[in-house]
Point group: C2
Chain length 399, copies 2
């Protein structure tokens, strides 16, 4: 019998993807499943992406540079300028999706056994990256009742110790849709300065902010630029999840130089996807206005309908395209499975992501789900109706 | 002052890529540089790759499955059958290049502090993967004088201890061009069985075997299939280095299931590159015959010319497209830099990879280089002439 490593066997399965077999079975039984479980937008990818790729005509599909194609880095530099972030050529690295960017940043700032603070609930794959490289996630618990905003400074200071190397967070938040206030961002910036921590700022949803809210990027706080690592991706920004083009941007040239070694180790990011991404980052800002209007409408539907359902708790999310909601059920995972296996209206049902896997603290999130509002208005309305009826019929409801 | 992790700061820079700035400077000064330093073939990528991609017409570039596109896995299953390796759907995972496959396999079989045996000189990026995840490379030293074949069984047994989890090797070998004999492969298989080790078999050069030699894959030794992890890639096989499509294949379903968690953590491999790779793996075998004939010719040129140069030691390599040669110089890295900075004939010079970085044992390989014979015959002849003259003129030659 072969022994696999402890770090891999102890790694959590993706809570977003582990229920996929139930969805497949439901479909095999002829059910239609509305997928609100995964952040796969239905928005069209800007056509400039495929156009650029179709025009690629080199005879040999060669390695590109480990740091990324210079034209793509230039294109990103121009993009960041619009947000008053100013990077030089040697301060940006192109990665295989935001995922690799997070993994590489983690390896760069933390040794095996070190700790990283993360507001929970958090993007569940943070768990995967950290266990793969033996870093411990220490959660900053946030609550549905408070719209998942941060707790006070003192309660964060209490969990900082000499092993703490960084604060990692997504803003706007996945899975909560929270947009942290200017005060919250500055509070974390101060903590980072005082305790000599890095900030791994996952800002892949930067543009997805609603209600005319102000967005504060860690990239805008001048005095901590040596400790801020900005993680980005084209996946959500341009609805190009299958392109897997992410990036690490950091004014700390030493960090970039070190992460470049990891980039060299995996040689390069796919050439064609970069050729397409160069054009994506030139997409005019009007694109975001149109897309945001659409998401804001969807957010309103989901939020309004959820709040009509008895026993459901959900503060109004203001960013990304997720809602985390407390449901009146014994166990959200069981409920999601029940909806796939034992429930339908006219052959239709709904899939959501149970939120327990988004928490590091055992027991939290058991009655919560994440809903990704990535479907059109009609489908969302149908989905919310399905949820409403399901909550009435579910045998293990708690109200 | 921010502290980066020890594991990243102690990581070796890629010896293949770290001298690139010297090459760039040489070019800026108007020199033509023949690149024999990097395994970037000049062979055309089969046109089926771009054709498939150009025909892709989904409006939304969505995530693909974490394990890889089913059609690509099917295409690979058919490919392996030709080599009498028989994998099922749930025994293959598609990765971001062979690099990610190696990294994931390493995480799966070894915890932080564990050891992996690797014949040295070895593919230098093995160093990067292992330090990133805190695994120690323990070298099995092989010698230029012996054509880089393995030492005897006893000397390998001597370095196995309870922390040893796997033997990792590329066959045919990068950077040596060695093709291990059937006896060598079986000897390692026996050791793996006796000491309960995994074998991470990097077989990305499987088709690049010359002189009509027999090739033995670890995938063909039935009794150890629960401990063999086959790493593959389209990069060299189909001259598609920029596609970054690799794979992990293993009959141990438990290992695949665990590695799938890592795959889920990074969501998926680019969709378009997989669409192209499906076609690559259907390339008829006649393609390899043509390509191999070309490489065999080039190998002959390089080997013959090297052996005419006084003081150069190089046994005939029989696979991949590399030659590792001992040169009569004080320090191969200094020599390579000197060729880029201070040497040229009619404005032309040559770049090779100094081999010291391919060794884990300090001091070894200092007078060795790796030459990748990835240029056409004319350019190779010119390159060999440049090397011959450079060795005569180099101020710190040792003969």
């Amino acid at each position: 019998m072969m022994n696999l490593s402890k770090r891999i066997t102890s790694m959590q399965e993706s809570p977003i993807r582990k229920l996929v077999p139930y969805a497949q079975a439901a479909k095999a039984n002829g059910k239609k499943v509305y997928h609100l479980n995964i952040g796969q937008p239905d928005i069209e990818t800007p056509s400039s992406f495929m156009e650029a790729i179709r025009n690629f005509d080199e005879k040999v599909l060669a390695y590109s540079l480990s740091q990324g194609m210079p034209e793509l880095i230039d294109s990103m530099i121009d993009y960041y300028k619009k947000y008053d972030m100013h990077f030089e050529n040697d301060e940006i690295l192109i990665t295989n999706g935001g995922s690799e960017a997070l993994l590489f940043a983690m390896i760069a700032v933390a040794d095996a056994g070190d700790e990283v603070l993360v507001p929970e609930p958090f993007y569940t794959n943070y768990n995967g990256f950290t266990s793969a490289v033996d870093v411990k996630v220490v959660p900053i618990t946030c609550k549905a009742e408070e719209g998942f905003h941060l707790p006070n400074r003192k309660s964060i200071e209490d969990i900082i110790n000499p092993k703490t190397k960084a604060i990692m967070l997504s803003n706007p938040g996945n899975p909560t849709g929270v947009v942290y206030t200017k005060e919250e961002i500055h509070m974390l910036a101060d903590l980072a300065k005082e305790y000599n921590l890095f900030i791994l700022a996952d800002e892949v949803y930067r543009e997805f902010v609603y209600d005319g809210l102000e967005y504060t990027s860690f990239g805008n706080i001048k005095e901590i630029q040596d400790r801020v690592v900005i993680i980005d991706s084209v996946s959500k920004r341009y609805s190009a999840c299958g392109a897997r083009i992410g990036s690490v941007a950091c004014k700390n040239k030493e960090l970039i130089k070190e992460v470049l070694k990891l980039c060299q180790g995996r040689l390069c990011v796919p050439t064609l996807e970069q050729v397409g991404a160069i054009e994506l980052y030139k997409t005019p800002e009007s694109y975001f206005k149109t897309v945001n209007k659409e998401y804001e409408k969807r957010r309103d539907i989901v939020y309004t309908e959820l709040n009509k359902m008895p026993g459901v708790l959900c503060k109004k999310p203001t960013g990304a395209f997720y809602v985390a909601a407390k449901l009146p059920v014994d166990d959200a995972e069981k409920f999601v499975i029940w909806m796939l296996k034992d429930f339908d209206i006219d052959g239709e049902t709904l899939m959501m992501a149970p939120a327990e896997g988004f928490y590091a603290t055992p027991g939290l999130g058991k009655d919560e789900v994440r809903i990704a509002y990535v479907l059109n208005e009609d489908d969302l309305m149908k989905s919310m109706n399905l949820l409403k009826v399901a909550l009435e019929l579910y045998p293990n409801k708690t109200i």
